[in-house]
Amino acid sequence: MANWTVIIDIAKKQLLTKFKSTAIAALGVTFGIGAYITLVSFMTGLNNMLDDLILNQTPHIHIYNEIEPSKKQPVDIYDAFKNSFNVVHSIKPKLSQKKIHNASPIIHFLNKNKDVKGAIPQIKTQIFYIAGSIEIAGNLTGIQPIDEARLFNFRDYIIAGSPEKLKNTENGILLGSGIAKKMALSVGDRVQISTIKGDLFPLKIVGLYQSGVSDIDAIQSFVNIKTVQRILGEAENYITDINVKLYDIEKAISLSKKTEQQFNVTAIDIKTANAQFETGTSVRNMITYAVSIALLIVAGFGVYNILSMLIYEKMNDIAILKAIGFSGNDVQYIFMSQALIIGVIGGALGLLIGLIFTNIISTIPFKTEALAKVDTYPIDFNVWYYVIGFSFAIISTFFAGYLPSLKAKKIDPVKIIRGQ
C-alpha cells in the first residue's frame, strides 16, 4: 500500500534541499530535449524544403517516347540463328517519332483514374535564342500554364509575371532568368527564337522563370503548348511528354508499369528517378535521432549520478523511514518520483527551450538563389516532436532512476542503524 501524498512530499523536500544538483540534473534533460526539438524541427524543415524543391516540381510519373535501339534485333527473331551466338555491331536507335502516339486519349484515360490528381501534356523542343548575330542554344517547353501551377507548383518558380499572363498572351514566353540576364532582356521586351529548321519567331516576354539551378535557368523557357505546336509546324495532337501527379506517391511505381505496358510508351516513376532523395532524407533523420538519443543518454547519466549520490547521502533517512513503517517499495517510489520529477520539469523546460529556439531560427533570414520563395530558415513545427521529446525525457529519467531506487529499496535498515 503506497501513500502517494507522503511519498511525493518526501521526494519533493529532498530535491529542494539539494536544489543545485537537482537543477543541474534537470538542466541536462532540458538541454537534451531542447536540442532534440530544435534539431528535429530544423532538420525536418530543411528536408521538407529540399523534398518540395525537387519532388513538387517533378511529376510522379513521366511518360514519353524513349529513343533507343530495339531490344530484339532482327537476328534474334530469325529462327535459323536461334542456337548460335550472335554479335551485332553498330546498333542504331530505332527510327520512331518523338511524339506520343494517341497522347490525348492517354491523358483522357489517366485523368479518369481516381488515383490521379492530374495528367497534363508538355512539348519539349530545342531552339536557339537570337541576339543579333549570336545564337544561344536553349530548350523550349510548351505547357498548360494554369495546370502546371496547380499540379507542380510552377508559380513558385516564376519570379516575374504569372502563369495567367502566359496563358492569355498567345505569343508570350516565360524566359529563363539566366538567358534573360545574358541577353539583357526584361519583362515586356521581345525575343527572337529560331527553330532547328531555321524558322524565326518573335515572342513577347511575359515573365521570368528561375528554378534555382543556373544551368537550367540559362537555357530553359516556357511558352503555351499551342505556340510550340505552331512554331514547330505540328498538329494539335503533337505531344512529346505527359506528366502525371498522383494523390498518393506510393502508387507511382505500379501505375507507371501499367501505363508502360498498356500504351507502349516509356513511363518513369518518381521513386526510380529520384531514389537518392529518399536516401538523403532517411539518413538525415537517422543523424538527428542518433544525436538526440546520445544527448538524452548523457542527460540520463546525469540523473543517475545525482540520484545515486542522494541515496548515498540519505542512507540514514532511508533506514529511519523503513524503521517507522515505510516499505522497501515506498522508498523505491520516493526515488523514482524524484527521477520523474526531474524528468517532467527538465523535459517541459526542454520543450519550451526547443519552441523558443525554433521560433528564433525561423525568423533568421535565409536568402538563396536556389529558392526564390524562401525568406527564412525553414522550421517544421509539429506537435508530435513535442510528444516524442517529452516521452523521451520521461523514459530516460525513468531508467536512470530505476537502478539507484532499486538499491535504496534493498538497503537493510538494521545494518545502517547498527553501523553508527
Binding site: 500500500m1 501513500n3 501524498t5 507522503v6 512530499d9 518526501i10 523536500k13 529532498q14 529542494l16 534541499t17 540514514n316 533517512d317 533506514a319 529511519i320 523511514l321 523503513k322 524503521a323 517507522i324 513503517g325 515505510f326 516499505s327 522497501g328 515506498d330 535498515p413 538494521v414 542503524i417 547498527r418 553508527q420
Partner: protein
C-alpha cells in the same frame, strides 16, 4: 496480566565471516504497561535481539508473538504495517529527517498509516509534543533543535500511532545526564500514565535500575530476569 510481546526459543546465527551462534534460546514476555530494560556487555546480542523483536530482522529461528498473534513468518508487507502501527522506535542517534519540521517528522508515520485525516494527525502530533513539553519546537526545522530535544521529538514520533510497545536502542546513550534523566522520566510517565509497554536496551546502570524489570544477557543467553 496481558502479554504484549512474547519471544519463544529465539535462536539467531551470523553466517559471516564464520558461523556464530549469537542468540541462544531466548524466552521472555513483556506485559502491558511494563517498563523493561535489557542490559549486557557489548556484543552479547542485546541489540540483535531488539532488531528481531522490532520485526526489522527476519532471519531467526523461534517464534515471536505480538498481542498473542504469531508474527514470525509474516510477509514483509505485513511486518512493515505492524512496525508502522504497533511498534514505536527510539534510537541512540536521533534519526529525524532533517529537511522536515519537527511537527512533520512526528506526523510522518501517521501519514504513512493513512488512517486519519491530515488535520487529525496534526492535532495528535501537537498533543504528543505537548506531553513531551516541546510544543514550542513544532515548526522548527529538525536540524535546528538540540540533541536532547531531538530525542524527545523521536519519542513523540514513536508515539504518534499509539503503539503497543516502544522499543529503544540505547536512547540515552548519546545524551548528557540531565537529558538522559529527562528521557527516562518521559518513559516512566508513559508507562505509568498511558499504560504503555517499553523495552529499552541500555548500558546505563542507573537507568536500568529504575525500570520495572531488568533482563541481563551474556553471550547470547538471558542469564537473569
Amino acid at each position: 496480566m496481558e502479554t504484549v510481546l512474547e519471544a519463544k526459543n529465539i535462536n539467531k546465527y551470523f553466517k559471516k565471516p564464520v558461523l556464530f551462534h549469537v542468540l541462544k534460546d531466548i524466552n521472555f514476555k513483556i506485559n502491558k504497561g511494563e517498563f523493561v530494560s535489557i542490559m549486557g556487555k557489548s556484543g552479547c546480542g542485546k541489540s540483535t535481539l531488539l532488531y528481531i523483536l522490532s520485526t526489522m530482522d527476519t532471519e531467526y529461528e523461534g517464534e515471536l508473538y505480538l498481542n498473542n498473534d504469531l508474527i514470525t513468518g509474516d510477509s514483509r508487507q505485513k511486518l512493515t504495517l505492524i512496525r508502522n502501527k504497533h511498534i514505536g522506535f527510539v534510537f541512540q542517534f536521533h534519526y529525524l529527517l532533517s529537511e522536515f519540521t519537527v511537527l512533520e517528522n512526528v506526523m510522518l508515520p501517521a501519514k504513512k498509516l493513512g488512517e486519519k485525516s491530515v488535520k487529525e494527525i496534526e492535532k495528535d502530533a501537537l498533543e504528543k509534543l505537548r506531553i513531551l513539553n516541546i510544543e514550542h519546537l513544532a515548526h522548527k526545522r529538525a536540524s535546528q533543535v538540540s540533541g536532547g530535544e531531538k530525542q524527545r521529538v523521536a519519542i513523540a514520533r514513536a508515539l504518534i500511532n499509539n503503539p503497543l510497545i516502544i522499543m529503544g536502542d540505547e536512547p540515552t546513550g548519546n545524551l548528557d545526564s540531565h537529558n538522559a534523566d529527562n528521557v527516562f522520566n518521559i518513559f516512566k510517565k508513559l508507562s505509568v500514565e498511558e499504560n504503555l509497554s517499553l523495552l529499552i536496551v541500555t548500558h546505563d546502570e542507573d537507568f536500568a535500575n529504575r525500570t520495572d524489570r531488568i533482563i541481563t544477557m551474556e553471550d547470547g543467553r538471558i542469564i537473569h530476569e
